[in-house]
C-alpha cells in the first residue's frame, strides 16, 4: 500500500488521526487491504503527508486495539492475519466501523456538495434496488 492512497482533508474539521483510522479501517474491512499486507510506516506517513508522528502512532494504536492491524517488532505494521478480525467483530465493533464508514462517506459527499439527506436517500434506493434484484 502506498502512502499516496491516504488522502487527508485538512479543512474538514475531522481530526487527522480519526481520518487515518477511517481510511485504513475502511480499506481493511472492504478487503482493499489483504491480510498480512504491510501498511506504511509511521515515518513514511509522517514525511509524505506532513503530519505529526504522534498522530499517526495514535491512529495505528487505535487500529491495533480494534484488531485490524498488528505490529511485528522490527518489521513494521501489517493488516491482521486473522480472518476473525473482519468476520468475528462484536456488535459494538461493527457499529463503530459502520459509524466510521458513514462519517467518511458523509465527509466526502459534503466536499462534493452532496447533503447527508441525499446520501441517505441514495443508500435507501440502492438497498431497495439490490433487495429487488435478489428476489
Amino acid at each position: 500500500m502506498n502512502v499516496s492512497e491516504l488522502t487527508l482533508n485538512f479543512s474538514s474539521g475531522v481530526p487527522i488521526y480519526k481520518q487515518i483510522v477511517q481510511l485504513l479501517s475502511g480499506k481493511i474491512i472492504s478487503g482493499a487491504l489483504a491480510p498480512g499486507e504491510k501498511i506504511p510506516s509511521i515515518r513514511d506517513v509522517t514525511a509524505e503527508l506532513n503530519v505529526n508522528p504522534n498522530t499517526v502512532a495514535k491512529a495505528y494504536r487505535e487500529l491495533e486495539l480494534a484488531g485490524l492491524i498488528e505490529t511485528r517488532r522490527g518489521m513494521g505494521c501489517f493488516v491482521a492475519e486473522r480472518d476473525d478480525a473482519r468476520h468475528e467483530l462484536s456488535d459494538e465493533e461493527k457499529q463503530h466501523h459502520l459509524d466510521t464508514l458513514f462519517a467518511s462517506l458523509v465527509t466526502s459527499a459534503g466536499m462534493l456538495g452532496i447533503t447527508e439527506q441525499d446520501v441517505s436517500d441514495y443508500l435507501t434506493a440502492k438497498h431497495a434496488a439490490s433487495t429487488k434484484n435478489n428476489k
Partner: protein, 284 residues
C-alpha cells in the same frame, strides 16, 4: 506493539487525561526546544524580521519622498505633519487614501507571506523534519492567492496581524482556500477546540517574553552606561553588540511564539498533542 508509554518520547498516552496546565507546560517546553535546536529556523525567522524592518524603512522613507515628489520637500517632523494635514480635505484625501491603502496592503501581504514561510517550516520541524529555507518560500509562494485575499480583507484593520499570526496563517499552511471568510471560520473552529490551552499558553508566553525583554533592556542599559564612559571605538563596538543581542532576542521570541502557536494548531487539527521528539524504533 505500539504501547502508550513507548509511543513517542515526551508525549505519553496520558496526554488525554492530562490537565491543560501540564499540556501547556509541555508545549511551551517543546516550543523552546525547537526554537533553540533548529538553526535554520532561527535564520529564517531572522531574515523574515530583517525584511519586515527593511519594508518599514522603505515605508518611512516614502513618507519623506512623497512630499518631495509633490514639490514640497519636508525636512522636519513639523513640515511633514503640515504636509499631510492638508490631505485631510475630502478631495485630496480621495487621492491619498488609495495610495495609503495600497502601501498598507503590500505591507500586510508581505508580512503574511513571511509569516507563512516560517510557520510552514515550524510545522515540519514539529513533525520531525529539518527546516529548509527554500521549501518554506516555495510553500508560501504556492499559497500566494490565499494570502492576497486574506490580506485584502485585513488591510483596513491595523491590528489584524494579531489574528493573522495567532490563528489564520498556521491554518493556511495546509489549507488552500482563497475565501478569506472561510479561512477565518475554519481558524475560529480550530481555536475553539483548544481555547483553554491557547489562553494559558498566551499567558505563559507573556511571562517568558517579559523576562526576555527585561534581559534585553537591562543589558541595553548596562551597555549604554558603560559605553558612555568608554573611548568612541569601544562605545561603537558595545552599541553594535547590544543591537545584535537585541535582534537575536527579538528573533528568538518571534520564533518561540510561532512555534507554540503552530504546535497548538497541530493539536487542534490532528487531535493529538505533537512532540518534536520521536522514538526511532516506533517510526520504522
Amino acid at each position: 506493539m505500539i504501547t502508550s508509554d513507548t509511543m513517542i518520547a515526551g508525549a505519553p498516552a496520558s496526554v488525554k487525561s492530562d490537565s491543560s496546565i501540564a499540556s501547556v507546560r509541555r508545549m511551551l517546553k517543546n516550543s523552546l526546544l525547537i526554537s533553540i535546536r533548529d538553526s535554520v529556523l532561527l535564520k529564517l525567522a531572522t531574515v523574515d524580521l530583517l525584511l519586515v524592518v527593511f519594508y518599514i524603512g522603505i515605508f518611512l522613507c516614502g513618507l519623506f519622498v512623497f512630499p518631495a515628489l509633490m514639490g514640497q520637500p519636508c525636512h522636519t517632523e513639523e513640515e511633514l505633519n503640515a504636509f499631510y494635514n492638508q490631505y485631510r480635505e475630502p478631495v485630496k484625501l480621495a487621492v491619498l487614501l488609495p495610495i495609503a491603502l495600497t502601501i498598507q496592503f503590500l505591507g500586510t501581504l508581505f508580512t503574511n507571506f513571511l509569516l507563512l514561510t516560517v510557520d510552514s517550516e515550524i510545522i515540519r520541524v514539529w513533525n520531525g523534519q529539518k527546516a529548509d529555507f527554500k521549501r518554506g518560500w516555495r510553500t508560501a509562494a504556492s499559497h500566494f492567492w490565499s494570502l492576497v485575499t486574506w490580506s485584502l480583507l485585513v488591510t483596513p484593520i491595523n491590528i489584524a496581524w494579531i489574528a493573522s499570526m495567532c490563528i489564520v496563517i498556521p491554518v493556511l499552511t495546509r489549507d488552500r482556500t482563497v475565501n478569506p471568510f472561510k479561512m477565518l471560520w475554519r481558524s475560529v473552529l480550530l481555536l475553539l477546540k483548544i481555547w483553554k490551552e491557547f489562553l494559558l499558553g498566551i499567558i505563559g508566553m507573556l511571562v517568558i517574553l517579559y523576562w526576555v525583554f527585561c534581559l534585553v533592556f537591562g543589558s541595553g542599559a548596562i551597555f549604554t552606561a558603560i559605553s558612555s564612559q568608554c573611548p568612541p571605538l569601544v562605545a561603537w563596538f558595545l552599541l553594535s553588540a547590544a543591537i545584535s543581542f537585541s535582534m537575536v532576542a527579538l528573533c528568538f521570541c518571534y520564533l518561540f511564539c510561532n512555534c507554540y502557536l503552530c504546535g497548538q494548531y497541530i493539536k487542534a487539527s490532528e487531535g493529538v498533542e505533537p512532540s518534536p521528539e520521536s522514538n526511532p524504533a516506533e517510526l520504522a
